[in-house]
């Protein structure tokens, strides 16, 4: 990766070359960083290290109750995982969930561009689109459960427009062909407003003159979108795709409240596995749960790196 800094965005460090490091800057930097670093160490890194360690140990209900600590078992938990068809199904479903990332990002960016205009009612649309985001997952579950019901609004609406004849209505969450996509639609519903606002914040950074110049040049709005908006929004798109990728890989709450992993484990995700192993009552198995969590983390890490590369590459190619 001997590529130069992406043009169009400010390089991360000052462009003017300075002496290697100034003592003053270093001290100041660490003073500013101190609160964050202390809290992160205490509440994130330390527990993460400990959690990773647990992945290589036996630490379940019985040892816990007797006040015994974890016992080192090496790769035993990972062997158990590799042999558990449920875990493999779960991991597969989580990877399959990544389909949502491009769809969700393109939709959010498009909606953001559409409402980023001085027309009457735009503030209203922006606020309304954000409402699903401020809904807690348990409330969302209640509402969508009714929508997806065999006798719910979705079937009714599709019946009215004759897409599905009344006799063949089915519960969208009860059918192993549709449940996965139905759950994903809820993720989409709760997500597009969230990313829309992130993109809106990013769009404010695009100089109005650029847009105006393009309009004068007679560029169509579609062309403006691809040749001006998207390249200038790259940092935001990168951030959003990264967040969305990780969120998709770690999807849990929607599944937990809507289908509990069913039907036929078609919505059983990797984090659902982690969750059920860590919290299945008195038989819980922190060791196995942590090991499964580590596997998910490694996949997430690889995908994040891929994400960064993808954007760097396409960026370099275009300019």
């Amino acid at each position: 990766m001997a590529r130069s800094q992406p043009p169009g965005t400010q390089p991360p460090t000052a462009s003017a070359p300075r002496s290697r490091y100034s003592l003053r800057d270093t001290l100041l930097s660490y003073a500013f960083l101190a609160p964050a670093l202390i809290l992160l160490t205490l509440f994130t890194f330390y527990p993460l290290a400990y959690g990773s360690y647990l992945g290589f140990t036996e630490y379940g209900g019985a040892r816990f109750a007797q006040g015994l600590g974890p016992r080192w078992t090496g790769l035993e938990n990972f062997r158990t995982l590799a042999a558990d068809p449920l875990f493999l199904t779960a991991l597969g479903n989580s990877v399959k969930y990544l389909v949502i990332v491009p769809v969700l990002q393109l939709a959010s960016l498009s909606v953001a561009v559409l409402v980023n205009k001085n027309l009457p009612g735009m503030a209203f649309f922006r606020a309304a689109y954000y409402i699903p985001v401020v809904t807690s997952i348990s409330l969302a579950a209640v509402m969508w459960d009714w929508v997806y019901n065999k006798e719910g609004t979705l079937n009714w609406a599709l019946g009215v427009v004759r897409i599905i004849p009344e006799g063949s209505f089915f519960g969208w969450l009860n059918n192993e062909q549709t449940a996965f996509w139905a759950v994903m639609l809820v993720t989409f519903w709760r997500g597009f407003g969230y990313y829309m606002v992130l993109y809106l914040a990013g769009l404010q950074g695009i100089p109005a003159e650029l847009e105006e110049a393009a309009v004068l040049d007679g560029a169509s709005s579609w062309k403006r979108f691809w040749s001006i908006t998207v390249p200038l929004m790259k940092p935001t798109i990168l951030l959003c795709s990264l967040l969305s990728t990780i969120a998709a890989l770690r999807v849990l709450e929607e599944v937990l409240v809507l289908t509990n992993g069913g039907p036929l484990n078609s919505t059983y995700t990797a984090l659902m596995y982690v969750y059920s192993k860590a919290f299945q009552g008195f038989n819980f198995d922190y060791g196995l749960a942590s090991a499964a969590g580590l596997v998910v983390a490694v996949v997430a890490l690889l995908l994040s790196v891929a994400n960064f590369r993808l954007f760097r590459e396409s960026d370099g190619g275009e300019s």
Binding site: G60, G61, A62, F64, A65, Q66, N149, K150, F170, G171, L173, N174, E176, T259, N260, G262, P263, L264, N265, S276, F279, Q280, G281, F282, N283, F284
Partner: protein, 428 residues
């Protein structure tokens, strides 16, 4: 009734006496008694039953002036909170768990055996033998049986829907299963919501035991895949695939679903604990008034099965003696009967079967249901003993039942697969 009142009176007199004594004790500076604080967790009882719990606690504190009770009600997070609190070293002293969770907690060493705190003879004279056996793990008693409920319990039905379908109340499970089609075809409402699958258990196993079929063989291996077992599952599969049971029964607890649908006139019958009636009364009082309550249809074994709550004392409790007092007090016959007067639960105490409260006749659905089941605590028996690592095994069983219901496996293959999994993974 009068007997009960007399008892109450005696208790009050006793309370006054102990209160007086404790007051003098407090006023005497030398004998300052330290009070012990006991933490008490119930499960899903607040806010509906706050008055009952608070009154009972107040009465207990009066009778035991050196003990203060700090009460919390836990909901979904009960077991997680229990584990977390043990981790943090502030474990509760008395916890309300059901039979399944008590078994798991005891097997993993979270609980004290209560027969070391209360003499076994006292326990045996207070509770029905079976209700006590439900909380016995490895020969030791780990819980004071508390309020119970029956799986079959009572049958309650919507007479309008039954009339429209042209059927009368089923007398046994065979009759019930035979009218499922008729009711749905003629009324559009479901006849009944069977317990097909639930997140934490394996309720379908209950249909095997209620027909007298074994879950385990003589050696303790899983054996629920005989031709008779398959035939039962086949019957449910056929009805499910024909659209005669609600699809949601695969995703939601049958009891919750049935209560919801019944109040909306979309299911004709509920078989189960009469608790449903309180809910129907709140949601649809008109239908409640019409609802007919009668004896439940039973399987071929002709027995009821049921389950109960219990009170356990964590190994990590710092005040086990005081905790035992509180648990014994709450589960006593008098206090369970007092509870039954508020909500139709079934006392697990042996003396309840002779209580006049359950002998009364009434036309009110709740009162009638209470009279039908109140004295039947001897039937509180899940029907089969849960295996050691029940979570994994139940999940596998439920997945297989689901596969059969959705037509992904034949009933025979589903039960064969599950038995194979159980025998390969069961920790006895």
């Amino acid at each position: 009734m009068t007997q009960f009142h007399k008892k109450q009176f005696h208790k009050k007199a006793l309370l006054a006496l102990t209160l007086g004594l404790s007051l003098t004790a407090v006023s005497a500076p030398a004998a300052a008694q330290a009070t012990t604080e006991v933490t008490f967790w119930t499960w899903y009882l607040s806010p509906k039953f706050d008055p009952y719990i608070k009154q009972t606690i107040a009465a207990f504190e009066k009778a035991n002036p050196t003990i203060k009770v700090k009460w919390f009600d836990k909901q979904d997070s009960m077991v997680q909170d229990f584990i977390a609190s043990v981790n943090l070293g502030n474990a509760p002293d008395v916890v309300n768990l059901n039979i399944d969770e008590t078994g798991k907690a005891a097997q993993n060493g979270f609980l004290r055996n209560v027969d070391a705190l209360t003499p076994l003879a006292t326990l045996k004279s207070t509770f029905y033998p079976q209700t006590l056996a439900n909380f016995t793990v490895g020969g030791k008693v780990y819980g004071y049986p508390w309020y119970g409920s029956l799986n079959e319990g009572v049958l309650l039905y919507n007479p309008d829907l039954m009339k429209k379908a042209g059927v009368s109340a089923p007398k046994n499970m065979t009759e019930l299963l035979n009218m499922v089609k008729t009711v749905k075809d003629k009324t559009g409402a479901y006849a009944w919501v069977p317990a097909l699958k639930d997140p934490g258990g394996a309720s379908f196993l209950g249909y095997f035991s209620s027909d007298g079929l074994p879950i385990y063989d003589a050696k303790g291996n899983a054996a629920f895949n005989s031709a008779a077992h398959v035939a039962i599952l086949q019957k449910y599969v056929d009805l499910f695939r024909g659209g005669y049971f609600p699809e949601d029964a695969l995703r939601k607890e049958a009891f919750q679903l049935a209560t919801e649908l019944y109040a909306q006139n979309r299911v004709a019958m509920i078989v189960g604990g009469p608790q449903a009636l309180n809910r129907i009364k709140d949601t649809n009082p008109g239908l409640y008034a019409k609802t007919v309550v009668t004896t439940a249809p039973l399987g071929k074994a002709n027995t009821q099965t049921g389950t109960s709550m219990g009170m356990v004392i964590p190994q990590a409790s710092k005040h086990p003696a005081e905790a035992a007092k509180l648990a014994a007090y709450f589960t006593s016959n008098a206090n369970q009967i007092a509870f039954a007067k508020i909500v139709p639960i079934i006392p697990t105490t042996a003396a309840a079967q002779n209580d006049p409260f359950f002998k009364g006749a009434s036309s009110d659905p709740i009162a009638k249901a209470t009279a039908l089941v109140g004295a039947s605590g001897r039937f509180i028996n899940p029907g089969f003993k849960a295996p050691g690592n029940s979570d994994d095994l139940y999940k596998n069983f439920s997945d297989n039942i689901e596969a059969a219901l959705l037509g992904k496996k034949t009933p025979k293959a589903a039960l064969d697969d599950s038995v194979k999994f159980w025998n390969a993974n069961m920790k006895k």
